[in-house]
Symmetry: C2
Subunit: 429 residues, 2 copies
């Protein structure tokens, strides 16, 4: 074993960074044995240097992250700051100064993954980011290595623990969205400003990363259709139950049936209770992968949290250190397929639509005609009357999102349709 | 991209081999793009050369596997023959002649993994074998790479599809073992001689491989305690249901609580219906991994079959080809921890014991005394009387297997105990 240590610069020492530092210290012997050389924490860049950080030598702490990545003797920069800047500049500076990079930064990778990969490749260095998607769950490595000889057609997953906690709570207790969110906040599962989670931004970034790897195609955050889950109601859950379904916020990356294009989207959807994703509880994540040869695979585990995310970071750190010792690099960006990313209108799926309608004869015929005119085939209809008003719940066969949108627009113009109470996609069948 | 192809020798062209050849042909462009060079099928060694093999150039087919691996121009040997010999000699010969190896051979790896790894390392070549455990499910790579920075404490899995099919059938229909086995055979899920599956040999080989990787310790097939599932009865399933459990054949690899030793075992066990493994149906496999930092992860998918196993083989083939192009090798054997493998007697778990006893006062007191004398603490007891006979179902708290064995031996000597109807471990709590 080499005795000269590999030097690691840690950017960020919050929930994840402090766990990375702790494990690097407490498991130093194991890491050395697995890498073939010791790893040394050479510096820790933080915003608040005065904060006491248990187990970290204060002499290593600096506020000057730029100087740290420019030192020239750093082998691996671990970036767990998050956000676009200064993380982006620090990572490219790290490559410029000879380091490889391990990052947990989903937002940055979803936005600028291609440029960062190019910078890594230009310098012959590694860029690893298992922790950016679904925390501790090995997902990036299985997709880009284990399934490298297969053709992935679909990735369907619960990749945000906060929203899964909220939806699970609504499902199991009948609570409304606000009540479930309040509980998630009180228990620390939701941040004070939950926008990134509940509006689907976090899941959309992960969907972009997963779609890019799965389809060997560049998919950016802007390419991902995104719909949050703030408008999911207790009534939606009641409807889902009647169909033998529950509701999850799903990230869905699909190859079109003809193979010529891909789509990526995040939105709440009904899935059958018999689907393995339906039983993913609390803040857990799970991702379903469908491929030509392997068939259906599922990966399940904690999608966030300091220690789980640190586990993923350290797995990458070991791989990157091993690569440095052998003078090799791991797999870089694979975007050779360069498939077009289709807009949401091209997505084909099923829909569950609740309409408030006038309670009089002929309404169903009118509504059914509108569906037919837009080429959306109806699977089931359920009518419920109440005091001169009535509700009509329509579940469709598979149709394009554009056709469905056209249908809904036309339905809204009918005198007999008082309102469209909810539209939800039905997935996982 | 390099234009000179990497040459692959395929040993075996049965269910898995023919799928490997098919995908190598139909996905040649994708494989070339992902590897950075084309891959060419340079030869296929088979036993019956006259058999027509669709899509394979007859000129490539040979019965002389030894000559094929000795050619000297082969980059990667893919071994999907199975069994110990001639696979072992062919693999070492392949290393001697400069090739790297991808194998799906669990029996060989469980028996001689250390020697094969040593041969690979001596020649600076790769030995990959994702397909040896749980078919298409990425498991070897996540364990030895993704979790390389973590400490795995437990691997608990359903790693044999045949037995899971049989047990699932018994659970859902109330069928007995023989009836369920007959159906599995008729449907092609069980082989004509099902011994390797139903007696747990197949699962034990996988347990040895998983334990070795998870604990960085050599674990051989002989180190694995093995108990088949041929004696599981419909009555056991009824008892399991009363406890809110089902029965699965589990492979369990554990680090002792003090961290100083490991165990590996395969046996039928009751697990709670709420455990994610309980809902693994049919011939699917799933493996639960518990580690210090990552917490609980689960990997799920098809554990056997031509195409799924070929997916795993091809993922390895891409990795090994990439390594050859870059002049590097992937992770080799990691056995530095060299922990002792403890015997079954040291395993600590819970037990479900059904006793046929005399239906008279004082029996429970006698039985309870025997448990107490052997330091086995009782969790629950259920008594059922019937015509002068009675049954007593005891569920214990955690105790060592040695203590439990001592208890059972002493129980058998009691006059009031007519027989021990079943003993089953309770896991996953």
């Amino acid at each position: 074993m080499r005795t000269r240590p590999l030097k690691v610069a840690l950017l960020g020492c919050g929930v994840v960074g402090s766990e990375v530092a702790r494990i690097m210290t407490t498991h130093a012997d194991d890491l050395a044995a697995r890498i073939g050389a010791p790893v040394e924490l050479a510096g820790v860049a933080v915003r608040r240097p005065s904060k006491v950080r248990e187990g970290i030598d204060p002499a290593l702490v600096t506020t000057d992250a730029t100087a740290l990545v420019k030192r020239g003797d750093i082998d691996v920069v671990v970036e767990v700051i998050g956000g676009i800047e200064p993380a982006r500049t620090l990572i490219t500076t790290a490559f410029d100064h000879g380091a490889s990079v391990v990052s947990a930064n989903k937002a940055l990778l979803a936005q600028d993954g291609a440029a960062l990969h190019a910078a890594a490749e230009e310098h012959g260095k590694d860029l690893y980011y298992e922790a950016a998607v679904a925390g501790a769950i090995p997902l990036i490595r299985p997709l880009r290595e284990s399934l490298a000889g297969d053709k992935v057609n679909r990735v369907l997953g619960i990749v945000n623990g906060t929203t899964n906690f909220i939806l699970d709570k609504m499902d199991s207790t009948g609570a409304g969205y606000q009540e479930a969110l309040d509980e998630a906040t009180a228990l620390g599962y939701a941040e004070a400003d939950p926008t990134a989670d509940v509006e689907g931004f976090d899941a959309a970034a992960k969907a972009a990363i997963l779609a890019g790897i799965a389809f060997h195609t560049r998919v950016r955050l802007d390419d991902v259709y995104r719909e949050g889950m703030t408008e999911v109601t207790a009534a939606d859950f009641a409807s889902a139950k009647q169909m033998g379904c529950t509701i999850k916020l799903l990230a869905i990356c699909e190859r079109a049936a003809d193979g010529g294009s891909v789509t990526a989207r995040v939105h709440p959807a009904m899935i059958p209770l018999t689907h393995p994703l339906a039983s993913v509880r609390g803040a857990y994540n799970a991702v379903f992968v469908e491929s030509d040869a392997a068939g259906q695979l599922m990966f399940y585990g904690p999608g966030a949290g300091g220690a789980p995310t640190a586990s993923a970071v350290l797995g990458d750190l070991v791989a990157v250190c091993r690569n440095r010792l052998s003078g090799a690099t791991g797999p870089g960006e694979s975007a050779y397929a360069a498939l077009p990313v289709s807009p949401m209108g091209d997505v084909v799926t099923r829909y569950h639509i609740s309409l408030d309608v006038a309670d009089k004869p002929g309404v169903l015929a009118q509504v059914a005609t509108v569906f037919a005119e837009h080429d959306v085939s109806i699977d089931t209809v359920r009518q419920q009357g109440k005091d001169g008003e009535a509700s009509l719940v329509v579940v469709t066969h598979r149709a394009s999102d554009a056709s469905l949108s056209g249908t809904v627009e036309a339905l809204r113009k009918l005198d007999t349709v008082r309102g469209v109470a909810s539209i939800m996609r039905v997935e996982g069948e």
